[in-house]
């Protein structure tokens, strides 16, 4: 308590210097917070877009590893040599998909939809375009895929109502000047040919997707591709996207079919984001580090000016430890006050940035700066500020604790 009393008195008796160090910490914490909120916000925004345009987990009719031969299964520990091996021809598609889908849906916190994916060629007015054909059950796609939100004309219900309907992307529509109600011819991989009516048009903003992706009803796709009652993909949406890796491995464990999570599929991008975070945190930490020099400076000055006081305190019976406490406390006081004020100023900056609308170069729509309000970065900013203040205070404090009263008394008397 006496140490706190003395520390407080030291700081308040030199208001200007204390204020300068305090402003340093406040600005440091505020910028740390604002910049990290913006960077983390843009990261989350990016990931959301990344995830939205693809399912969280895709289960496909593939295996990660070739099937083991019966001989190897029968004698796993013995030497079995099989030469000239070729894996058995599998029937394409997920076997017993209704049962497996039911199994997957029994897991908590997810929604799944069956899809049959194949390729086809679209013929219209003498032109051809290779497309990717997805057979879907519209009711099941809701809440799993974002396709419904991307529709600019028509709806999923139109597809449900019209078994001969097809949903195409805006890129394809522009290319062939198609609109709702236009009729196109589709030639599928199996060779079957069918004319379909455009019932809806979507726009995702991804050019490749908008030009080559189409959706038809699952039954229609099964007929077109000549694979009745089969699907070859489950797409899965999770309530919490960050659980994707875990859930994917659980699904794989129950079915052996390959389940790829978005995190696995986009590992390279996540790595880039991680590196970006490392860079960002190093830069904003540097701000706080510089601010801590202000504290170091102030405390060093106080130690120099207060050598006589330190000599008195020591001669009266204050331990080196007590003296150190005084100066460490001074650093902590500045750090704590600076953090609290800095978080408030930083939150203000974040509010300001979140309200700014800008039009990116080449963009068509106004966007808000993505600011993330996560509590974790508040903790990181305050924690790092306190740590650097503690460090900045420790050096002068140690020096003060080491001062020898006799040296000072000799110099003074």
């Amino acid at each position: 308590m006496i140490a706190l009393n003395i520390a407080w008195t030291h700081l308040t008796s030199r208001k200007r210097q204390t204020a300068v160090s305090l402003v340093g910490v406040v600005l440091g914490v505020a910028f740390f917070l604002a910049v990290s909120a913006l960077m983390r916000g843009s990261e989350k925004d990016f990931i959301t877009r990344l995830i939205d345009n693809s399912p969280h987990i895709t289960v496909s009719d593939e295996f990660r590893t070739a099937r083991l031969q019966p001989a190897r299964l029968r004698w796993p520990d013995d030497l079995v040599e099989i030469a000239g091996l070729r894996p058995n021809n599998e029937t394409r598609g997920i076997r017993g998909w209704r049962y497996r889908l039911g199994q997957i849906e029994s897991l908590p916190g997810l929604k799944a939809a069956p899809v049959l994916v194949g390729s086809a060629v679209l013929l219209f007015a003498g032109q051809e375009q290779g497309i990717s054909l997805s057979g879907i059950v519209p009711a099941r796609m809701r809440g799993v895929s974002s396709i419904e939100e991307k529709l600019v004309e028509g709806s999923l219900d139109d597809l449900e109502a019209n078994p001969g309907g097809i949903i195409i992307g805006a890129g394809l529509a522009e290319k062939f000047s198609l609109r709702r109600g236009s009729t196109v011819n589709l030639v599928a991989g199996g060779g079957s040919n069918r004319s379909l009516t455009v019932v809806a048009i979507f726009r995702t903003g991804n050019a490749g997707y908008d030009e080559s992706q189409t959706y038809v009803l699952l039954k229609r796709a099964q007929l077109l591709l000549g694979r009745p009652d089969r699907v070859n993909r489950f797409i899965i949406k999770l309530a919490d996207a960050s659980q994707a890796l875990l859930v994917a491995s659980r699904i794989e464990a129950m079915g052996t079919y390959k389940a790829v999570s978005w995190a696995e599929a986009s590992e390279d991008i996540l790595n880039v984001l991680f590196v970006r975070n490392v860079i960002m945190y190093s830069v904003v930490s540097a701000i706080l580090l510089v601010a801590s020099f202000g504290i170091y400076n102030t405390l060093s000055t106080i130690v120099m000016e207060k050598t006589r006081d330190i000599a008195i305190l020591k001669s009266v019976g204050f331990q080196a430890r007590d003296i150190r406490h005084i100066f460490v406390l001074e650093g902590l006081i500045v750090g704590t006050l600076g953090s609290v004020l800095g978080l408030a100023v930083g939150a203000g900056l974040m509010q300001l940035m979140a309200s700014v609308q800008i039009r990116p170069p080449g963009g068509t729509a106004m966007v808000n700066l993505p600011v993330w309000w996560g509590g974790e970065q508040f903790l990181i900013a305050a924690g790092f500020a306190l740590l650097s203040c503690l460090l900045a205070a420790w050096l002068p404090a140690r020096k003060a604790g080491r001062l020898h009263p006799v040296d000072i008394l000799r110099g003074a008397t």
């Binding site: 006496i2 009266v316 080196a320």
Partner: protein, 229 residues
Amino acid sequence: MSVVLRAQGLHKILAGDVPTTLIKDVDLEISAGEFVCIMGPSGSGKSSLLYLLGLLDVPTHGTIALDGVNTQGFNDAQLTQLRLEKLGFVFQFHFLLSEFSVLDNVCLPMRRLGRWPEAQCHERAMSLLTRLGVAAQASKLPSQLSGGQRQRVAVARALANDPLILLADEPTGNLDTVASANVRQILHDLTRELGKSVIAVTHDPKFAAGADRRINVVDGQIDPDWQPL
């Protein structure tokens, strides 16, 4: 009378390129309630001896026993604790903490020791200030006091933890005649009324005249024959 401080074979040598001997082979004993003056020419090692006796410094050789406790081999923390409990210091310059009131300055050692609750610290401090005639200044800052008043506050602080021995380094060296007579009188009274031992370094023959005993230090050694000019 019981011996409160016993020094035997004290040597203090400052290490360096040319080692300097500050104190050479000093033996002395201080009894309870004794008023001892240390005198000697400038640079003779009076203050160095006082710092050794006050456990502010450690001797190169020799032992110091305070209240029967041999301090040889004690570390800094142990010596500091002994100072806190058993010794009080008054320096030539008042050495009060300038940002704290007179009362807080006197309370400081008591708060560190933690033997008395805060209310009792205040009470004790006020009674010491009253005894030394500066109670009216209790809430002032040291800078608002005269030199004599400050030195009396310093004495009050030195007495705060009820020490065995009061060590004073030229306590009147920086005061005018009236103020130094006053401080001198106070230190004398302390030995009589409170039974404290006082060890004071001084240049002032008048100050020394009232002492029970005079110890002369010349060139770091005790010299009974030396006379002040």
